[in-house]
Every structure is written in C-alpha cells, then in structure tokens.
C-alpha cells in the first residue's frame, strides 16, 4: 500500500516520543514498556528499544536503576530525568499544536 510507506517513517519518528511518554507515566523495565506499546501502532521489539533507550540515556532524558526481581537477575527500571520530563512536556505541547493545525487546515 502506497500510504503505508509514508506512515512508517511517521511511526518511527514518533517512537522516541512514545517511549518517553510510557516511561513518564511510571518507572518501567523493558518488558513493561513493550507490553504497554503492544497492540498499538507503536508496537516494538527489544532489538529496537534497547538502542533507543541507550541513546535517550546518553542524552540524559532517561536513567535507570537496578531493582531486584522475584525471579531471575535484577532488572533495569527506566524513568525520566528532569530534562526528560521537560522534553516530554515540550513534545506534548508540540504534538497538540500539530493536531490542531491538522484539524483546522483545509476547513
């Protein structure tokens, strides 16, 4: 489908935003994040998520802490940093602006 090839880059570009939003709700480890996004347009995989989280951590937008788990080794729980929270707010506002523009234009 022709439209699909245009939608895929949009989803890809928004994934970072969605991950910030997901982690912004509460601190999560990667399987939680995957479950949260599963079944949405932004359903993704560990192979995508870990490199992205690593980048976000380098940009000081998220950080993680180790937490013991009942079964298996300790887990990395990711949460937003202050600058991550600020960026999420900015992205949220920008997203609302885009939405309004899209809704208004052509009317």
């Amino acid at each position: 489908m022709a439209a699909e090839s245009k939608l895929a880059p949009i989803r890809k570009g928004l994934l970072e935003f969605l991950v910030l939003k997901t982690v912004g709700a509460k601190s999560m480890y990667v399987p939680d994040i995957l479950r949260r996004l599963d079944g949405t347009e932004f359903s993704t995989q560990e192979g995508t998520l870990y490199p992205l989280l690593s980048k976000l951590r380098r940009e000081d937008l998220v950080q993680y802490e180790w937490q013991e788990s009942d079964a298996g080794p300790p887990r990395k729980y990711y949460r937003l940093t202050d600058s991550g929270r600020a960026q999420l707010t900015a992205l949220d506002e920008y997203w609302n602006l885009i939405n309004r523009t899209i809704a208004e234009i052509g009317h």
């Binding site: 880059p9 993704t44 995989q45 870990y50 989280l53 980048k55 080794p73």
Partner: protein, 191 residues
C-alpha cells in the same frame, strides 16, 4: 561420549545451550554487534540484548528442561528482533543539520539582494526583525546603512541557487546579476 551443551554467560544469567542454538546465538550477537558499529555504547546494548535472550529463553523452557535448543531460541530471537539503530534510515538524513552555514547572500529569500537573509541565517537571527532593525538604523543614521548594505552586497558571496527553486524576484535577480558583473569586471572574489 558426546558433548551435549555449552554453558553460556548472558549478561547476568548463565544458561546451557545445545550446539545448534549456541551457533545461532553467536551469529545473532555478531550481527547485532556489527549493526551497532558506530554506536557510542555497543557494550551496554549488547549486554541488554544478552539479558533479553536469557529471559526470553528461560520463559520458553519446559519445567524439566535445562538446555536451550533452537526450538526456544528461534522464537525468542524473532520476538527480540534485529537491532535497529535509532535515527538510522536507508535514506541517510544529513548527519549535521546544524552545520555552520557560510555567510552568503541568499537571493531566493531576498527583498533587495539577500544580505539580511544571509546575515539572519549566519547569526541565527529572525530575518524580519533584522530588516526592521535595518530600516530603523536607516532612518536614524540618515542613510549610512545604505553604504553598509552596498558594501556587504559587494563582499558577501552569493549562495548557490537551490536546484528546482522558483525564479528569483525582479530586484534580487537584478542585484545578483549586477554584482556578479561587477565582480568579474573588477576581479573581486566570487562566491
């Protein structure tokens, strides 16, 4: 005698893999490592992926099963997916969008010759604000700004015209042509 399995350390877990699964895992991790070439933190990501493999395989082992085979590993790798480097796309985007831009006159964005548009781009000023400021200076300086403007017209090279852009408006087009003519005539540096 027959070797049945290999003990593999996957980040914080140690698991038994049979030979076929071990070879497959090695291949997956080698592919991931090569995809992460250029990433500043490949070790961290590879460690995370190893842990993901261990967790996924553990989940898939039968209650009395201790050795991971391809039957567990293949679906695990399928679920984890191959490494996608963020920002990388087949159509390589410009790697340095904020690369320093040369100080040039921009005819396409010009009202007169493109000096303000060029200064605005170079210094990151709002072009309209810059023009208002220039007009104010013109009024206050009693015309001295015109001399500055003409000097900059002569000194600032012209940015190359964007391929496929609209034809220039009349005045910017004339300014550009006239300045290029002067530069050739008087052997001034050209853009």
């Amino acid at each position: 005698m027959q070797r049945i399995s290999t003990a593999v350390r996957l980040n914080r877990s140690v698991m038994q893999f049979d030979d076929a699964a071990y070879v497959r895992l090695e291949k997956y991790l080698a592919e991931s490592a090569s995809l992460l070439e250029g990433d500043p933190d490949p070790q961290e990501i590879l460690g995370d992926l190893e842990q993901a493999v261990a967790d996924q395989c553990t989940r898939r082992l039968q209650p009395n099963q201790t050795v991971v085979t391809l039957a567990e590993l293949e679906p695990a790798l399928l679920e984890i997916g191959s490494v996608q480097v963020p920002g990388a796309s087949p159509s390589a985007e410009p790697s340095t969008p904020s690369a320093p831009r040369p100080l040039q006159q921009i005819s396409e964005a010009a009202l007169i010759s493109g000096v303000c548009a060029g200064l605005g781009r170079y210094f990151g000023f709002n072009v309209t604000a810059l023009r208002v400021f220039a007009v104010l200076l013109l009024l206050l300086s009693g015309g001295g700004v015109i001399l500055v403007y003409v000097t900059l017209m002569l000194l600032m090279p012209f940015a190359p015209l964007e391929a496929g852009s609209k034809p220039l408006r009349w005045l910017p087009g004339k300014c550009r042509t006239f300045m290029e003519y002067l530069r050739v005539k008087f052997h001034l540096a050209t853009g």
